[in-house]
């Protein structure tokens, strides 16, 4: 039993009319690990999580959470789950304490146990001092922390967090990331979605990269980075002619996967020392002024570029 995976998605599919939001996603999350789904907007991360939390019925496929099927045992799944939705889902006219108390009851906590858990969670999310203020008065980051706190009240075995760090201040972001690691250390399994590659890289034991409703790659950070080989990524910000510079780059030897987006030309190169002069030369030949240069060792961003031909950006 205990060596069964915590989450097992089996060919999940979901369409909204013509829009095939999730097109056969399968992956496996081991117990006690942090698994990140990394992908751009509209990749299908939320839709996948919604199916895994029994909010959406899949058109096809199934999934097991702690061995319970989302199709045949949704209430069993819900009882082991804590879900942090992407949108803040709190009662703004109630205080943080009142919110936590209410949601705790929904997770079947009562009495002194409930009260103790509410206090603990307030401590964890760092809002003990302001617990009695209405959530509506909180900053975005504080709301996000309460939003997470709600899902932790009943000490779930599995926690889903759907982009919990979108649009918040660095302090709240730090608090949240630290908490995710703490949850893992307490033995919880975390399914985390993000489109920040740094977060996925920092937190995850395993990462699944999603794009257009498909899981295009899956593995540890190292495994994924190996997909691009030892290639280095070079970003040149140009004042003009980005497209033509990118086109010129494609002809240069030792350069692969060129992309042009938002005034930035990006290339993966085998050896940056050899390639850089050629890249610069092409830019100045086309009289494009270089306003900044960024050289990065292989990372998930490069993996995404490698796999999709597009940059992974917000």
């Amino acid at each position: 039993m205990s060596d069964l995976p915590a989450i097992e998605a089996l060919d999940l599919r979901k369409s909204f009319g013509e829009n095939r939001a999730v097109q056969g996603v399968s992956f496996q999350v081991n117990r006690g690990e942090i698994f990140s789904l990394l992908g751009p907007n509209g990749a299908g991360k939320t839709t996948t999580i919604s199916m895994l939390s029994c909010l959406l019925r899949p058109d096809d496929g199934d999934a097991r959470v702690m061995g319970r099927s989302i199709r045949s045992d949704p209430s069993g799944v819900k009882s082991v789950l804590g879900v942090v939705p992407q949108e803040i889902a709190l009662y703004e006219d109630l205080s943080a304490r009142e919110n936590l108390t209410f949601w705790g009851k929904m997770y079947d906590l009562r009495g002194s146990k409930l009260k103790a858990r509410v206090d603990e969670v307030l401590e964890v999310i760092g809002l003990r001092d302001r617990a009695n203020e209405r959530v509506g008065k909180y900053s975005g980051g504080m709301k996000r922390r309460v939003n997470i706190g709600v899902a932790l009240l009943h000490k779930p075995q599995v926690v889903y967090m759907d982009e919990p760090t979108v649009g918040i201040d660095p302090q709240s972001r730090r608090n949240i990331l630290d908490n995710v690691v703490r949850l893992k250390n307490e033995g919880m399994t975390v399914l985390y979605t993000t489109h920040y590659m740094e977060e996925a890289q920092e937190l995850s034991d395993h990462i699944g990269i999603m794009d257009h409703g498909k899981l295009i790659a899956c593995g540890t950070n190292e495994e994924l980075v190996k997909l691009v080989g030892q290639q280095t990524r070079i970003d040149l910000t140009l004042n003009a002619h980005v497209e033509s510079v990118a086109a010129a780059w494609r002809e240069i030897e030792g350069v692969s996967h060129v992309a042009a987006e938002n005034g930035v030309a990006t290339a993966l190169v085998n050896d940056s020392n050899l390639a850089l002069p050629h890249l610069f030369e092409a830019a100045s030949r086309l009289s494009a002024r270089i306003t900044s240069v960024n050289i990065r060792e292989p990372n998930l961003e490069a993996v995404f570029l490698h796999l999709t031909g597009r940059a992974l950006r917000d």
Binding site: P85, A89, Y91, L94
Partner: protein, 434 residues
Amino acid sequence: MKAFDIALKDLTRSFRSAFAIVFMFGVPLLVTGLFYVMFGNIASEGGFSLPKTKVVIANLDEGGPKFQVNPKNIPGGKKAETMGELVVSILQSEEMADLIEVALTDSAESARSAVDSQAAQVAIIIPADFSHQFADVDEEAFIEFYQDPTLTIGPAIIKAVLNRFLDGMSGVKIAVTVFLDEADESQRGLAGQVAQQYLKISLAENEDMEDELLETRNPSGGAQRKEEETQSLLLSIVGPIMGGMMVFYAFFTGASTAQSILREEEERTLPRLFTTPTPQAVILTGKLFSVFLTVCVQVVVLILAARFIFGIQWGEPKSASMMAAGIIFTASSFGIFINSFLKNTKQGGVLFGGVLTVTGMMGMIKIFAMNSPAAQTMGDAVSLLVPQGWAVRGLTQSMSGESPESIFLTLLVSLAWSAVFFVVGVWKFNRRYA
């Protein structure tokens, strides 16, 4: 248990919203309060609560050439040779004596200074050419009304009496004008008779008016019984208004509380509830329960508040409870019912503006048509087409002391409405979130 937690949470939220409180309790009580003050002043004036209004009259009227009044036509049979004297005699009549204390003076200045020095509250100055202007078809006749600006009620009554008198008088002028336009030369002499005839009618009317006013306003002698009569007259006006307000706003509360289902969907808390180990049936029950509880609290509070603030008699406890139950069940189930047809809260504006107002008004026709039996019969029929009408019916039955059996019958019909609304609403919501 969880359903109850959900309902309790909603109740807390409702009662924390200033907007909701205003509409649930503030507006109905305020409107009733306004009516109470309005009618209450008329009903209690002059008798026990208000001192007499002191009036100084400067009658400067020199009379008009063609003006004669037959003393028989003047209330109290007093003699009046000018229009000015007629005004004075009306204000001095015995029937008005409980309300006003009249003093006469012979100059406009002294009348005004009496008000300025607060020796009197109202000065009435009848100009020298008052009768003259009256006799002249093309002129308008004015009386100067000068009052202590800090007072309102006493002067207002006197103003009302005078206005009505003058209205009657201008009727005379119109009658004479019409007559003169249509009569040929030889008949012109009859104009005076026409005026006289009209004046007779108008004064007779005036007398009625005084009786009417005095009847409602003047428990002469201050007897306990009279005072109670005044009070019960007041309550017979204000009671149904309060009841109507209560029904109208209970339906409003039902609809807006039931809308919290849609609001929670949009605020994403409803989907979040669905991710907790709480069955959908329990969540929905909780939401419905909260609608019921909120309306329940509102109706009970309004009934008690109106009882203690205005002294409104809702009827026998048994009858009143049945009528309250009727209101609560129809209002909450109707709210669930109509919200189940909405896609989102944006459509709610139409719902509140249109459906609730129209059906609410239909249901309350009976209360508006209180004074006209014909309109009431029709209003009865129309109002019973909407659930509000049945709620109002139970209300008026209980207030007028009808038998518990007949109120029970009304309650049964209300419950039947509620059951239909409830079943349809729940069915639609269940399907929506399945």
